[in-house]
Subunit: 408 residues, 2 copies
């Protein structure tokens, strides 16, 4: 049988190395139909350009702080390499309770918290807990595309509710439209606030209206408040935790990626009514069966000792936001509002509506990597997303290059 | 709102802290119905007993070797904490190609290999690729329960084909019965060889018969050959790789857990026709979005430099098998065959058919932790599973305690 496996790894594993059409036809339809990430396309296109400023991904330029990495290394050296609690090690769940207590000013039970193998897995598990074939999940757009994709893979349908952009008011979600999009098949509303990619942040009143509706209709809310620390109009963004009861139908999905610069680690958590413990434990058991203890030791240290790092990162993001927004504002061709939350600038360029190709052109012509709005669903197609979680000097350089390109 | 979250972490997070019945009734039926692991129950019962010899889990007593842990620590210290390739970093995929080449004596393409967040996730993704609501997956039993549970969570139905145990021939899978259990709805046959928990190992002829059938009927085979190095009747167990073509409909699921004592790490891989690359990449993207680079660096070193460790571990398991089988054979009350593969002894005790409770009693009465056969599905209910991947001295002590208990 020698010589059968001739294919070698190509630099960019993006395309089908061979047709295999018959083989593919026997796959599950939902798996075959899962969309490619529109962000990954431009990343793969520009990844290795010299001097490129990569602003396409939702990731900063800082590696994980040393004190966090060292906690993992210590745990590894101590031989903590065995199976552990499916829900997460008790010290991390208790640290998460303390973290929430600090952030929201009231008590939390460690029983609410479930450690997951990334924020993405928190979303996948939250969806799997509430929605399957024939069900619907309502999602305002523009949105990070992975939630709708995970909904589709669960066999359910993502129902999109386009937000509205005006030059005066920026991005706005019409809550009546959101609630009107729910129906008999709706199992959950997915709300990401502060929003990736728009920076839109729900007010407490908007959260209350959605929660009241969810309680009345027995719908779940999947609350993605991953960027709640990256908020530039106050201490932190308004949260469902400000108004929710312990047993409200909310699944909070979160991640260590952004606050603690741990994108590559793939560790996240779910906050949920403790009554769901058995169900969530089983969903973890039958997907990845927990998270490495040594990763959880690092996450525990991050939560307990990471506040100065978060404060520094948020202030840096604020400066970088000001720099890039200032630079792009100077061009009469751009349209955007300064984002109040998250770390993205979502902007459009007059005369450049074909954003799918624009990302590739900006790699070639401005040496700046931004993600096309087409990746974020309805109402965002004409925009581009740029991540400003980098040092202000980089953002100044990116701003110069983009301004020059705009002025050509 | 102070004082709402009064519950504190209990030592064993096993039960519902509150009824929450109404809340649970709004969950997805499949999530609610996912079975608890019958192994976890006895683990939680006996976990903290002094002097307990824990043989319930599929895990050895050795921590991950230092050279593997150190590779992770080096990568962390070098700041490899960012997002990476969804399919796995090229050096690990290339190392896996070399590993398979070494093991099966022919060339493999790195394009075949997809790094996953555990062997369990490899199974979950393999199922999600081929089966959903209304579909069936055929699984011989006794079997590790997580495969059937993951099938159920995918909305599909696990169709069990009971194996046969006789004192003379040990465990036997009737291939005709296996194939006859497939029907119009069948999308895949899940075959675990060497088997957890029975140690049964398919012959090359049996694998060929299953492959011929799968080719003809356009069914997928999900091949769980995780224990193929732990084989005591030859160099390694027969494998579908001995007979398969590059484009055969086989999804190989595997893990770093057993060969390299990395159970707690949660890293595994899928071997698949390269034509499935896009689909598998998307399934990874929308579940955990890849595995930490520093874990993959460790896995790369494991694959490239781990052969002496594997040889030592397999020889140790063989000695421990001989010790425990010898000890239990001395009792007229036990029934089992010496397993040819994997690292479990699956045995029954005359007069003790109620194995669900027997695991708990053996904790109390013999201070040995074994898993009840009821956890492994049809045909195994009267048996107990014991993991012998521990040092021979421990197995001798466990053997003494069990022999004393049997002789009471």
């Amino acid at each position: 049988m020698n010589g059968r496996y001739k294919l070698r790894m190509s630099a960019l594993p993006t395309d089908l190395p061979e047709p295999g059409t018959q083989l593919l036809s026997t796959l599950r339809q939902e798996a075959l139909a899962a969309p490619d990430s529109g962000i990954v396309e431009v990343m793969n296109y520009g990844r290795e350009r010299p001097g490129m400023i990569p602003l396409w991904a939702g990731e900063g330029d800082l590696p994980t702080p040393g004190f966090i990495c060292e906690a993992a290394a210590r745990s590894l050296a101590a031989g903590e390499t065995f199976y552990t609690w499916q829900r997460g090690i008790p010290p991390l769940r208790e640290a998460l309770a303390r973290y929430h207590q600090h952030l929201y000013g009231r008590d939390f039970s460690a029983e609410r918290f479930f450690v997951t193998g990334s924020g993405m897995q928190a979303i996948q598990i939250a969806i799997a807990a509430v929605a399957g074939t024939g069900d619907e999940v309502v999602i305002p757009t523009p949105a990070w595309p992975n939630c709708a994709a995970a909904t589709g893979l669960a066999g359910a349908t993502a129902v999109h509710v386009p937000m509205h952009f005006t030059d005066n008011a920026g991005w706005r979600l019409d809550i009546d439209e959101l609630l009107a999009a729910t129906g008999e098949k709706t199992k959950a509303i997915f709300l990401n606030s502060p929003s990736n990619p728009t920076g839109w942040t729900a007010t407490r009143e908007e959260l209350q209206a959605i929660l009241d509706f969810a309680r009345k209709r027995q719908l779940w809310i999947i609350a993605d408040e991953v960027y709640n620390r990256f908020f530039f109009a106050g201490e932190r963004a308004p949260s469902f935790y400000d108004i929710a009861r312990d047993d409200d139908p909310i699944l909070f999905v979160n991640t260590f990626s952004k606050n603690w610069a741990m994108t590559g680690w793939r560790v996240g958590w779910i906050g949920a009514p403790p009554a769901l413990g058995r169900v969530l434990e089983n969903l973890i058991q039958y997907s990845t069966s927990g998270v490495a203890v040594f990763m959880q030791r690092a996450a525990t240290v991050a939560v307990d000792e990471g506040e100065p790092f978060i404060a520094e990162q948020v202030e840096r993001a604020r400066q970088s936001r000001d720099v890039i927004c200032g630079a792009l504002q100077s061009s009469p061709r751009t349209r955007f509002t300064w984002p109040d939350g998250a770390f993205y600038l979502f902007f459009s360029i007059k005369g450049e509506e074909e954003t799918g190709k624009l990302g590739l052109r900006l790699v070639d012509e401005a040496n700046v990597g931004v993600a096309p709005g087409t990746a974020f669903g309805a109402a965002g197609e004409a925009f581009m997303r740029l991540c400003f979680a980098r040092k202000p000097e980089d953002m100044a350089e990116a701003g110069r290059q983009l301004a020059n390109w705009l002025a050509r």
